[in-house]
Structures are given as C-alpha cells and as structure tokens.
C-alpha cells in the first residue's frame, strides 16, 4: 500500500523537478499578489499589519487555485491517467500520492516563503510563526479540495474559471480559520482554537477528498 503511494509521489516529484519553471511560477504569483496589496491600500503600517493575515492567506489560496488545474492535466494529456485508472492499485491511494507530491511542490514553498512576506507586512514575530503553522496545516487542505475540482473540470473548456467557481466556496472554512489564527494571535487571543479547527478541516478533507477525487476522475474518463 505505502509502496505505491511513495512510487506515485516519487514519480510526480521527478516530473516536477524536470519542469522547475512551473513551481517557480506559482511562487512568483504568490509573492506578486501579496506585494500588490500594499500598493493598493497605501503604506500605512498599522493597516497593513491588520490586513496581513487575510492578504497572505487569500494570495496563497489564489496561488493554489491557479496551479491546481495542472494536477491531472499532464497525465490526462499523455494517457497516463487512463493507465492509472486501469491499474489494480486503489485509485484513492494514487490520487493521494499525486496530491501529496503536488503539495510538496507548490504548497511547501508557500509555507517557507510566507514568513518573508509576513516581515514585509510588519507582522510581529509570534504571529509570523503562527502564519507558517497555519499555512502548513491549511495548504494541504487546499490542495486536497482543489484536487476534487481539478478532476471534475478535467479537459473542459474554460476549466480554470469553472474550477474557481466550484472550489472557492469550499475554501471558505480553511480561509476563515487560517487567517483567523494569525489575526487572533496578533490580537493576543491565542491561536490554539483556530489551529485545532484548521487541523480538523485538514483531516476531514483528507478523509473525503481522495474518495471524491477518485470518483470524479472515473466520471471524467468514462
């Protein structure tokens, strides 16, 4: 069981490594969106500090949204996906492996880079730690939920916008608890409850979305 999971993760990481530019694009998008906000609302430090959790979280969310369309696209185009569906290994496991690899390639860099942007927004040190932690818990949930949308819109025209319409409502709880954790910490309320709920979001996404994604892939490839 675990062997197939790691095999899928290894394969996808290898493929991503051969196309490093894609990873960089997502990351650059994240940084650019987050940097546009101060230009839009003005350089006032207090305002930026209160806005920072929301801005950084929404940027991370949009970056995920932008890249998640690619989750199954390449495998769909070259027919690998069909082979995966035909294989005797459980499809949910393959899907989980693909999402894990996807998160390692796009989610993890966001988590690593976020503190830097937090400094740009003049967040206090404790809040920056919470920001990293909340992104580390939240971006996997975003990747998992995004997988459902990516599978459903596979090969459709206008897939990108449709994907946004489908999965943005599902991102609401993650956004609320993720950004809320940072905000609560900055306000001195303690981020524990938010982080626990964020963890609950992640775990329920982990339970539901590989199944839903696998079902959606079967529907799309029928």
């Amino acid at each position: 069981m675990l062997r197939i999971l790691f095999a899928v993760v290894r394969r996808d990481l290898l493929l991503a490594w051969r196309r490093r530019a894609d990873v960089f694009t997502t990351l650059a998008f994240f940084v650019i969106v987050a940097s546009l906000f101060p230009l839009g609302v003005g350089p006032e430090a207090n305002l930026l500090r209160t806005m920072a959790p929301g801005v950084l979280w929404v940027s991370a969310l949009l970056a995920t949204l932008l890249s998640v369309t690619r989750l199954f696209a390449a495998d769909y185009a070259d027919g690998t996906l069909e082979q995966m569906l035909l294989s005797t290994e459980p499809l949910t496991l393959i899907v989980l492996g693909k999402v894990m690899a996807y998160w390692l390639v796009t989610g993890l860099p966001l988590v690593v880079l976020a503190p830097l942007l937090g400094v740009q927004f003049d967040l206090p040190q404790g809040a920056i730690g919470v920001l990293s932690l909340s992104l580390a818990l939240g971006t996997p949930a975003l990747s998992l939920l995004g997988g459902i949308g990516a599978a459903l819109t596979l090969g459709l025209r206008g897939g990108g916008v449709l994907l946004a319409l489908l999965i943005l409502p599902l991102y609401v709880p993650v956004l609320i608890f993720g950004a809320g954790a940072v905000g609560a910490d900055a306000a001195g309320l303690g981020a524990g409850a938010h982080l626990l709920l964020l963890g609950a979001c992640f775990l329920s996404a982990l339970a539901v979305s590989p199944l839903a994604t696998a079902a959606a892939l079967r529907i799309a490839m029928e």
């Binding site: 449709l162 319409l165 409502p169 599902l170 609401v172 709920l197 839903a212 959606a216 529907i219 029928e222």
Partner: protein, 262 residues
C-alpha cells in the same frame, strides 16, 4: 454500486407494499405523471400566495419596534427556507442517482438548481432591503447572510459545471459529486462563518435575538412558505419535463408522444 441496486429493482415488484416507486423512476412513466401533478401544485400555490399576502398585509398588525418594514419577513424567511430545502433535495436526488443509477434523478436535481438559485437570490435581495431600514446597512457580514451568499455560489458552480460538460452522462455525475461535496460543506461553512463573525465583534448585528413572534405573523409566514414550496414543485416539474424531452428526444416514447400530439 449498481449491482445491488439492480437486484433491488428486480426484487421490488414482488415485495410490494403499495406503489412500486421504481416504476416512476423512468422518464417514460414519470412524464405523464408530472404533467398531471403540475396543476395540482400550481393552482394551490397561487391560492396560498393570495391568502398569505392577505394575512401578511391586512391581518398581521404593525410591529411595535420595526414598524411596517418587518412585513418583508413574509417573503424573506420562506425564500431562505426554500433555498436550503431545494439544495438538500438536489443533493438527495444526486445521491439517489449515483446509488441507483437512475437518469431521472439527475434530471430532477438539474431542474431544481435554477429555482433554488432564484430563491437564494430573493432571500439575499429581501435581506438587504430589510437590513437597510432595520440596521442601517444594506449588507452585514452576518453568519446567515454570508452562508446564504456562499450557497448562491454553490448553486452557480453546480449549474456552470453541468452546462460546461457536453456528455450528459458525465455532466450528471460530475454535478452530483459537486452537489454532494457542497452539501457536506454547507453546515461547516455556516458554523465557521458564525464563529468568525463572533470573533469580529465590530460589525456584528444580532439577527438571532428576534422578539417572540405573534402567532398571526407565524401563520402568515407558514402560508407563504407553503405557497413557495408548491410553486417550486410546479415549476420544477415543468422544467424536468422539458429536460426529459431534450435528453430523450431520440427514444421511442418521445417519438410516440410527438406523434400522438399531432
């Protein structure tokens, strides 16, 4: 998943305890039944709406604190109820369709979606018009309002996905996955927004602490809700009939229907 469903369907005619429901699972038999049901729901809807309007404007007294603007409640609350009930019904038919592999179930949920979206829009619109004289703002980020807005997005997402897929079989099933995932999410969204709202005390306006409602107001609201329900059933049945004809235009039963109506 479909094998037990088939076994069940085969067994059912023998194990009858009244009507064989699976008989109406095929468009061919459901089409005439729906045709007969439409007036049975449509005319009562009109009658109930008239009674409800009479109750809400001429019988229900002026509210002591809100004045006349509270009369919006007589459509706002039924619209909000309908928006949620229809989403649940949609998710229910999607689940039935996935489990029993009946194409009529998917058509039902696709016929329900536009009406549900309409009620959601009406609930939001009347909510804004009620909020302005009551709280002084067209929109507050209250848990219910925000959840209702997200519910509208869920409806739009479902309809957009179904419309974007050309293959009807794939459209049915993909839509069903979205509707079901959305149905799981609706309560989570509601509670997360509620929690978020209580933490941001600044803008919060309590909608929950409504004063105890006079029974005549409740009666008006219930009659209006029944009217909205009967109306929705009638409209959805007309739409599902249109969908059936569109989808099954190459089948024998549609050909016979067209033949006999000439």
């Amino acid at each position: 998943m479909t094998a037990p469903a088939k076994a069940l369907a085969e067994k059912l005619p023998e194990s009858r305890g009244g009507i064989n429901w699976f008989k109406y699972a095929s468009p061919q038999t459901f089409y005439p039944l729906a045709g007969k049901l439409i007036p049975l729901f449509g005319w009562p809807a009109l009658a109930l709406a008239l009674v409800g309007l009479y109750l809400s404007f001429f019988v229900a007294p002026t509210d002591a604190t809100q004045g006349e603007s509270y009369r919006i409640i007589f459509i706002h609350v039924p619209a909000a109820w309908m928006s949620m009930i229809i989403y649940l019904a949609m998710a229910f038919w999607c689940a039935v369709g996935l489990i029993f592999n009946t194409r009529l179930s998917f058509m039902m949920s696709q016929a329900l979606a536009p009406t549900g979206a309409m009620w959601t829009f009406i609930a939001l619109w009347t909510g804004a018009l009620w909020g302005k004289p009551t709280w002084g703002a067209w929109w507050v980020w209250d848990a219910r309002l925000t959840s209702e807005l997200i519910l509208l997005f869920l409806y739009l997402g479902y309809m957009a996905l179904v419309a974007a897929i050309d293959d009807p079989r794939r459209a049915d099933r993909a839509g069903a996955v979205v509707a079901l995932v959305g149905a799981i999410n609706v309560p989570i969204i509601y509670f997360s927004v509620k929690w978020w709202n209580t933490l941001h005390q600044g803008a919060s306006v309590s909608v929950t602490s409504a004063p105890k409602m006079a029974s005549i107001m409740l009666a008006g609201m219930l009659v209006m809700a029944l009217a909205a329900w009967a109306y929705s059933v009638a409209v959805v049945l007309v739409r599902v009939r249109a969908l059936m004809l569109e989808r099954e235009r190459n089948t024998d039963w549609v050909a016979q229907l067209v033949e006999s109506s000439r």
